[in-house]
Symmetry: C2
Subunit: 348 residues, 2 copies
């Protein structure tokens, strides 16, 4: 195994110089740097990250903790983060909490804290104050994606604003009987996403002078099947059928479209449907939705972290304290496709 001394010998310099030349820290003349790089290349030298970490205290590795992986949102965030890290020469260690309670404790106590990572990205995870402060006291920067953590910079869309937006879109088309498919609070995962999405829908209605009708709300489970069932209930009513459905997720929205078809209803002719996410299937179903960009969110999380891990020396002002900017808003936008249209003129 070729080590730093081999390179030093080959280049005719000291190991200290090799270290400086290759890591970019400290002064090295351009000539020396070139010589060292050449030797390193020639010998196929790669630093031992362990030795390097042990000596420097930096690991060039960040941990990302997710509750699930095989769901579009989470895997996209991870993908974005991974790409951004790779580009900067960092590794990504994945902690998947699918297992449940025990796993979670173990991850925090035995893994993250093992000084394996320089920083942590928590995705849609409601960390306890203890968990947050143990990270802070270790000096590990922490960023949250998909939910706001007190005292932690949090990259997240404003959930209520997303459904307000799609509801307003439908209102502007002339709809007034607009139903909502979400989930009840019992189903709230970390961060009460369903609750906020429902609130956004209700607020938009109220702003338009419409009182939300509880009969037009159905709780489902964020799956296609759940959306399908809920929509059947909503659309099967022989009278006062809603002319539009605001679903809290694209999967439920797609389920609703399929339910409408089953009932012989035309989308958007008889009923308009909108979702949230811009899931990979949204385009195929012509679904109007409010897009969020999880991949981009993962990248942004890494950028935020990097400002602290590797402060830009040229920066005019010092890096703001990580905990100062609690909520870092991330973009979302309405994508209008073919599942929404003006309601048919009432034939009543």
């Amino acid at each position: 195994m070729v080590g730093i001394d081999d390179v030093a010998k080959h280049a005719g310099v000291s190991t200290a110089t090799v270290s400086r030349a290759l890591s970019g820290r400290g002064y090295v003349s351009d000539a020396t740097r070139a010589k060292v790089s050449a030797s390193a290349e020639h010998l196929d030298y790669v630093v031992s990250s362990n030795a390097s970490s042990l000596a420097s205290g930096r690991t060039r590795n960040v941990g990302i903790v997710v509750p699930f992986l095989s769901e579009w949102y989470f895997s996209s965030v991870v993908e974005g983060a991974e790409t951004a890290l790779l580009r900067r020469g960092y590794d990504l260690t994945l902690y998947n909490l699918t297992g449940g309670g025990d796993d979670r404790r173990s991850v925090f106590e035995h893994f993250l804290l093992r000084r394996r990572v320089d920083a942590v990205i928590a995705v849609s995870l409601e960390l306890s104050d203890d968990e947050v402060s143990s990270l802070h006291s270790l000096g590990k920067p922490l960023v949250s994606v998909g939910g706001v953590l007190p005292g932690v910079p949090s990259l997240t869309v404003v959930d209520s604003a997303m459904t307000s937006l799609s509801t307003e879109h439908l209102l502007s088309l002339g709809h007034t009987r607009i139903a909502h498919i979400g989930a009840d609070s019992a189903f709230d995962r970390d961060f009460k996403v369903p609750t906020y999405r429902r609130k956004g829908y209700e607020q938009a209605l109220r702003d338009a002078g419409i009182t939300p009708d509880p009969a037009l709300f159905r709780a489902a489970d964020f799956t296609m099947k759940g959306g399908f069932r809920a929509a059947k209930q909503l659309l099967g009513q022989p009278r006062d059928r809603p002319t539009a459905i605001v679903a809290a997720s694209d999967e439920m929205a797609i389920g609703s479209i399929l339910a409408a078809r089953d009932l012989g209803l035309n989308v958007p002719g008889d009923v308009s449907v909108s979702g949230v996410d811009d899931h990979q299937l949204a385009d195929f179903f012509g679904l109007t939705t409010v897009a969020q960009f999880p991949k981009r969110q993962g990248e942004r999380a890494v950028e935020l972290l990097m400002e602290h891990l590797e402060p830009d020396p040229g920066a005019a002002q010092p890096v703001p304290d990580l905990s100062s900017a609690e909520r870092v808003p991330v973009p979302f936008e309405l994508v209008v496709r073919s599942s929404t249209a003006a309601p048919k003129p009432s034939t009543a």
Copy 2:
């Protein structure tokens, strides 16, 4: 930061004993072990994985390389591997090659080789001989999932057998005009999955004395939209319409079901449809499919690796050379749901 000496002092033993007690290697009396554990717990001691790795040469970390993450199959394999590793006290470092060519080279040269991992799991990745041998020469066990790599134990379903199975299922129901939606070889990703799945379909037909009809094959792209389009072509024919479709993936199968509905055809009344994978949506669409179990595949990969990373001392026979068992077959099974049925008696 509390270190091993603090624990040693607190427990009144030497650091070597602490190391032995906590790692489980070497002899320590039960009493001492208990004492040490108590001290460690009390002081909130966690080993520095870097120092430990540097001294021992083991990292307790395995790398997993995937071409995509936001696809059901890949994220499931990773999830399975992660769970299995976590249980054994290992970390999982994820390398996502989505980026393309440059990333790939960089991953191999600068990351995996940085002695960061004890072993590597390659998912659906056709590694070059160079890549394989550089791993071997570093003494890093390598396991492939989702494709056979020469000289590497490979956990993989026999792709042709999966489609043979679903084709036989359809034949046994009495179908004879069975179409296939796959992808052409230009679309072959690593390992030629589409090609093998097509071969399985053709073989089953031949075994039943039927000559595969090229007109009954359509190339798509493994997506729902692609399956939808291909099925429209197939099912829109005014005469000699196939009575069944064997799709090479569930997504394409679901696209086919939607296409059939669009055309006013009943599934399975007018046309039967089968897929491959048992994707999360398969159940909702009542899709008959050939299930494979990616999560389990990820777990199995870890089990294989562990036999080499931590050989069971009680094992009667020595661990077989990793490269001896090239193809480790993994289970798959036909799941019959409501998208397949006997063809309607011909009314011709």
